[in-house]
Point group: D3
Chain length 239, copies 6
């Protein structure tokens, strides 16, 4: 039995609450089962050196996890003095994905930083960060339009992310921590609202798999993305 009594192709109960930060230009709290991630978007006028005087803007992301987001406490990265390889890999992924949905020329010479902080972790935090990060980004861009600093929201499409995996030979959508730990194959799909591919990472830690399995995960992922896209749109409209 899966958590929340789910079938193999079902998402965990998912909720996106937009506008949760008084300070950030855009924000949401995304909850996927027991995983909760706070996503904020900050608009800054300074941009990375390599973009100065190009007229282009930038979107980047940072990811963190509160020490007791997990079952046993994991040491605070600020105290250890560096971000782990895992953290860096995840925040590079979030930033890369969000840059794929925006026209950086139309953004103009400004930078948007998406902070994804995991309050509670039960699997799928990088996917939740991307799905929630898109909402925060969209709201920050909407604010730039509302404030008369942009004429139009320079987004090309929306994006969302979901995990799939193979556990005990069964293809499952949206793995929680227990399922993720037991999975033979683990994949993350980042797709647009029209189900075009932004990025796919599929990996069999200590296992291999065939194309058929890959296609089955892809099939599940599309269903999940459609549902997540609807939740994103509702959250954005609610603000």
């Amino acid at each position: 039995m899966r958590s929340f009594g789910r079938e193999a192709h079902q998402l965990r109960p998912t909720k996106i609450e937009a506008g949760v930060s008084r300070n950030a230009e855009g924000s949401c709290l995304i909850q996927c089962g027991h995983t909760r991630v706070l996503c904020t978007a900050t608009v800054e006028d300074n941009i990375p050196p390599f973009l100065r005087n190009t007229g282009k803007g930038w979107v980047t992301a940072e990811y963190g996890m509160l020490p007791r987001a997990t079952g046993s406490r994991n040491p605070r990265e600020a105290a250890r003095g560096k971000q782990s390889g895992r953290t860096q890999e995840i925040q590079r992924l979030i930033g890369r994905a969000l840059r794929a949905c925006i026209n950086l020329e139309k953004l103009g010479e400004r930078q948007i930083i998406i902070d994804c902080d995991v309050i509670e972790a039960d699997g799928g935090t990088r996917c939740a960060s991307i799905t929630g990060g898109y909402v925060a980004l969209h709201l920050a861009l909407q604010k730039l339009v509302d404030d008369g600093r942009l004429n139009h929201i320079p987004l090309l499409h929306s994006i969302a992310a979901v995990s799939c995996g193979i556990v005990d030979g069964k293809t499952l959508l949206d793995l929680d921590y227990v399922e993720d730990s037991a999975a033979q194959v683990d994949a993350n799909f980042i797709l647009t609202n029209s189900l075009r591919i932004v990025e796919i990472q599929a990996s069999g830690e200590e296992h291999t798999f065939d194309e058929e399995s890959f296609n089955a995960m892809m099939h599940h992922a599309k269903t999940g993305i459609e549902e997540l896209t609807a939740l994103q749109m509702a959250a954005i409209r609610s603000v």
Copy 2:
């Protein structure tokens, strides 16, 4: 006019929600006006090297602030590669204060780590961390009793903390960020439920003050601590 229409001697609307983390042995979310701090208590069996084989336990604290807890984004300490002097000063204060309310011999050879993470900052985050940290600590100790690992909660008294300051010549209780920035004198009082002193820090950045002012702040602080103590007790009982 003060925020929330307060008089000089009044706390901001304060709320302590206990048991907000599924993972931590004790936890609460404390909200003081717009300041919100998530406090979790983690019980670990390993203790610092200097206490090994002494039979004594340890309580320590770590403090962090989400990058967009503040009006403008402050860089993530994990990305910068070190904790600021301010962060270290605050977490040393929290740990020292909490160790003053517990019998470490009776705790036994285990360590309790209090994580205080500021979700939103509007002044008074160190005091909120101490007040909320006490609640998380109490709940974690209660759990050790419930699990049969301790016979009694080894607490000597409860503690809470509140700030006072002098702004435009007026003595105010529980400063928000705007008041704090304008204060001639800024003080933090950490007192027990019977109003004994755990720690006092009173400082006039670029100003000086006399004993009368100090005593006026002390007077206000006592009122505030009594109110906070009642909120702590209610939160603890609610779990």
Copy 3:
């Protein structure tokens, strides 16, 4: 025209020279066009703490690039005091891939470290590292058998990696640096000798793509992997 006068589905001239290090237990120099990577395998008796007394061994990888491997000099990571996110992401990928081709229980309580150092970079360094890293790993295991420390080489299959991409709408195998910089989509395929999937990473930086494009890249990748596998086997036999 592609470099080396290649068709879209052709690898660059590729050469694997095995046994190039006097010190390492296994080693090779892999050359893919102008990309050259020195791969060495070191066998150590100490294993990571989380594996002690489990009877299991470990395979891990480190990746580095000489400062002037590239067209303009990139600062030495040892001098900057940390490995970049890119470096960490790549070395995590190499290690994960190589662990998927070995039976860690049969390896026993020892660790094999694969060092992949890029002497010259012209695109595809992470794939070359995996393909060459497998050869170094195989040779180190062969040496353990030859030395009577293992009865059999505990490998499940061989693995190799190759990149594909879409440049100007055309699907290309084994991109060099110029092609990689111009690619709309960039993917890395790590497959076994029987063409099962170990890991796939497909990403459209600032672009999206459809399943048909993905499948076309997959098709090219299989051809490339078959050719690389043959080169690996020849190199291993040559020692």
Copy 4:
């Protein structure tokens, strides 16, 4: 019996030797019993970024301890790669205190750095640093006047610092290391020459105390500060 045959309300034998550095713009060696701190003041024309073009100057402090200033050697912070939380807390305190005695607008756009290096430690190093740091600061400002770079010394008052504590129920002034280690309450008082308060820190590590105790310490502190102020004035005049 207290060290040096002192009564409860007496300072240790204290000596301030001004002008001990050939290089620094102001300097002194302060000796409080066996505690010895070298304080130097450096005048620099560059100021912190946040003050550029404001016309204001800045005073800051750094604190260090020679490895064998203490009974057992403490590892060199430069070798460990970072300053401890204790070091940072102390140097922030020294800087904050010294900024409270100067008119930064009248200082003009220059920075004065006070270095306090503990040659030998026997308790009270932070207080000695503040008391000696004031002397170094005053002498550096005097030099700016002598060199015609300032018209007047922009000091508002002098400051000095002294510790008090409660040991075995007795209120003591100016604790040495043995007393400090045994103290139930430990407090530092930074006062002006007219005995107004600059900063107070009073803490009962693993103990609590009442207002009466606090007031008794305050009373002792005033006596000590008056004596230290006289020694500071004499040292300054001696140059």
Copy 5:
């Protein structure tokens, strides 16, 4: 018997292959017995801050060792987060030596960085780095002349380096690792093509020696330098 059947005053078989890097402005691979070092020279237009607007240029060096250049693997400095004292000492020596053979005014406001990366280590890596580094530097300067960016090569003389030592009472030229480990005295001589001294470091780790021994080493060194100088010239002419 010495390795390669050498007499006491003989160099190991030494080979300098120039122009081995497609990217670097100058490069060579120097092989001294089993020691192999890749030396590249990079010309950059930016210079260190202390030389800005002086019209002078700069030459500096960085040194590294691949993890498995040695018999047992030495941890990667980039992963450890800092360069060892030994690495820093060596790269300071290389840079200082190379600056002694060039007219920095005539170089103009540009910087040349010499990277010396040890592919395989069997003693004498710092000397090989200097000897090979000179070749890379010469070739980079030749390229600046060929590209019309300099009128003449601003070199004053060539330099080369060789080690000598006393092992079992015998004075030996060009020690390999086994001899170096057993040496009572270890010295490095950096001389010009006319045998003038650039730098000498002679040290008896846990031993002392007399002037006669020093002079015997000096005598051997001169022979070695003459031979190395001829190899350098041949390598430079070969490009």
Copy 6:
């Protein structure tokens, strides 16, 4: 004219005051002209891992400079987060030199750490550190004998160090900062009391020199070392 009215072959006025630290097992303050270095020796029972269970002891050194030891302030290494290459080079030299005068087997499994902290710098700090470091080491060993922990002082000879240089074509002994900055050649000689060589470093930054010059410096150095040795002996006897 040289400082202190010296001839070319004369030392600066030099003074060694032994026993200046109440805490250290051995200590001295060495003053060479305006250069002043505090040297302390700490005896610890723990030794480096590579010596455990060998019966051998270890001597090592650390070097530091107070920020305002120099004419303009140099940033504190503890605040910058790492020791400079220069610092590391110097402390490695001091340790290596001191290990050459002791029988480490007879020292037994203990470590002596020599801390050399420069209070004021006017050239020759590394030589002063070695000369003073020897005195601190000798006194600490004497204390081990006095305490009955060693039967005999396990020293083989005494060592001292002095600089020589060539300034405007003249060979000078014991350079001060102004001379050092103007020197064409700079050399440090570490010799025993019987004038055997421990270590020589002779370098012509941006200059070269011949053997005759080297021999002239060597000649001067011997005179200086004889004088320094006498001062060391007197200081040691004075305790």
